[in-house]
Symmetry: C2
Subunit: 366 residues, 2 copies
Amino acid sequence: MHSAAPDMVQLRFDEIEALCRSVLRNHGLSRDHVEAVTRTILAAERDECASHGVYRLIVCAATLAKGAVVPDAVPEIDDPAPAIVRVDARGGYAQLAFERALPLLVEKARTSGIAALAINNCVHFAALWPEVEAVVDHGLVALACTPSHAWVAPAGGSKGLFGTNPLAFGWPRPGPFPFVFDFATSAVARGEIELHRRAGTPIPIGWAVDEDGKPTIDPAAALEGAMLTFGGHKGSALAAMIELIAGPLIGDLTSAESMEADAGRGGSPLGGELIVAIDPRGFLGQNVAHHLERAEKLFEGMTAQGARLPSSRRFAARQRSLARGGVCIKRSLLEDLERLRIAIQPNGASIEGEGSVNQAAPDSVT
Amino acid sequence: MHSAAPDMVQLRFDEIEALCRSVLRNHGLSRDHVEAVTRTILAAERDECASHGVYRLIVCAATLAKGAVVPDAVPEIDDPAPAIVRVDARGGYAQLAFERALPLLVEKARTSGIAALAINNCVHFAALWPEVEAVVDHGLVALACTPSHAWVAPAGGSKGLFGTNPLAFGWPRPGPFPFVFDFATSAVARGEIELHRRAGTPIPIGWAVDEDGKPTIDPAAALEGAMLTFGGHKGSALAAMIELIAGPLIGDLTSAESMEADAGRGGSPLGGELIVAIDPRGFLGQNVAHHLERAEKLFEGMTAQGARLPSSRRFAARQRSLARGGVCIKRSLLEDLERLRIAIQPNGASIEGEGSVNQAAPDSVT
């Protein structure tokens, strides 16, 4: 552990891992879950997605303390149709269920050309890009989405019904990084409004409405009211699609049902996630390399005119982190986390409020 | 044929069909294509989507006259993987290729749980909702997308690279109408800007940039420059995804390649289309009815707070048209079409300019 800027601390990757493991184990999470969650948190921290990095340990600790996640759930894989995989997370975190089901999803996509994985009955706290990238690592095209809690009003409405419903997509590329995007279908992440509330600064019109359905610039009124989707009725249509295909289609909760199930505990969203994997060879046979090369021209056409590829900031951060073998985190956050690795907190909710780290990164889901 | 408003003419469905058939046959389209295209045009006219109704006969006639579509192409179906169908439209209109390949797509979705259809090497002129609805009619969930011509700049750029790249989705419902959306990932349909140019009215900021990449309210400058995506970088990411999955993934053209292939002829976009079909039974087995019922609660949650379901205006129009057994079209348009049914036009392009019908409906693709 070395000091960087006065309020920042530099940690090696193995130190981050050790921190994750001790906090999570200390809060009763079983060994396999600890490893899967640690991998996700480390990936986010490495990519400088502060909102999904070690900060999430505070959220996980609180969720575990509340009993809002099953700490030792053993995922159960089901094989209901040739191109479908279901994995029942049995109330545990999504990560382990995903890791366990991934090999079968990959196998089915390769055999059938396209396949879908439903993760059911899981607790979400992470972004979707780690899962999309894990699928793309196998040379497949990936699409993932999930509902959350009913915080977002449909276009033309004023009451929370949809979740922040992220959609993520990944495409394999020859270089070190795939083409990946992962965005909430809400205008902004919920944490972004929360940050404005803490800072006492107004939010832009278009992010949310108040309890009476009127546009508001008051973040507190926005959190009491409803968030809005991005892109008006089109973003709203996408959010509805995600409710349907990662909800009833896979036999799992809508965002409204997730919120109802949470019953005011303030836990992470519950429910399902849909991941679709497509093998380019299913369409292209032996011509995959040729057509992937054509896709590169599309990316060149974007960057040549100054448009940034989605996730490029994240990949730049990854390169920096990998080069120095670690990351920098806020000293105050590390101090909070050090306390969490020592003793089980009786009420995680009170700790959550003390977190001083930026909750709102561009890839933030909720 | 009965008169309605002075400038409108009421036509029965069989009269619309006869009109379509005679215009299309008269321009050399083979019988099977005539029937498939007629069904699509009739469906659009019935739903009061003026831009994709009989007005499109003028566009088709021009495209046929230019030789920009193969009038007697025989679609060729390929079965490359258990959950993949490809149909080579061989330069013909997409409709017939889709109709021919649909049964195999449905069969594969039912067997595998999820399946994908690539239409390759086709000419597009219609919206995507007819195809999505045709899949949904089989009790399946459907997703469809296609590139077009490179008119739309990526977020952060200023040059046309993406097409208007529509995305359509359909979900089966117990009543007469499914849940369907079909929107361009550009801020507006291209025809909408064209309409403003004809009317000499400014366009809103956010629709397009001029040739120098500057925001413009001048529709002529916008048509020379580049359109913008809806929803900023998120809409742009979606447009890129559609370029990839309905372009290189299926071995077909990107919007930039389509425009290049058109070589300034002003023809309809060429290339491919991707349609994904999911059988809810693949995930839900015998519990489909129960979970589809839960989806109805989502729709109730939307309408109860005054939010309109996507396509509800179109479905209301369909009910009206079906009740009266026909539609109303502009007299001036009918006169143009009557001329097209009599003699082959030596140059369809000149006729196109005379069309006085509204080109820009909400579902308009280009």
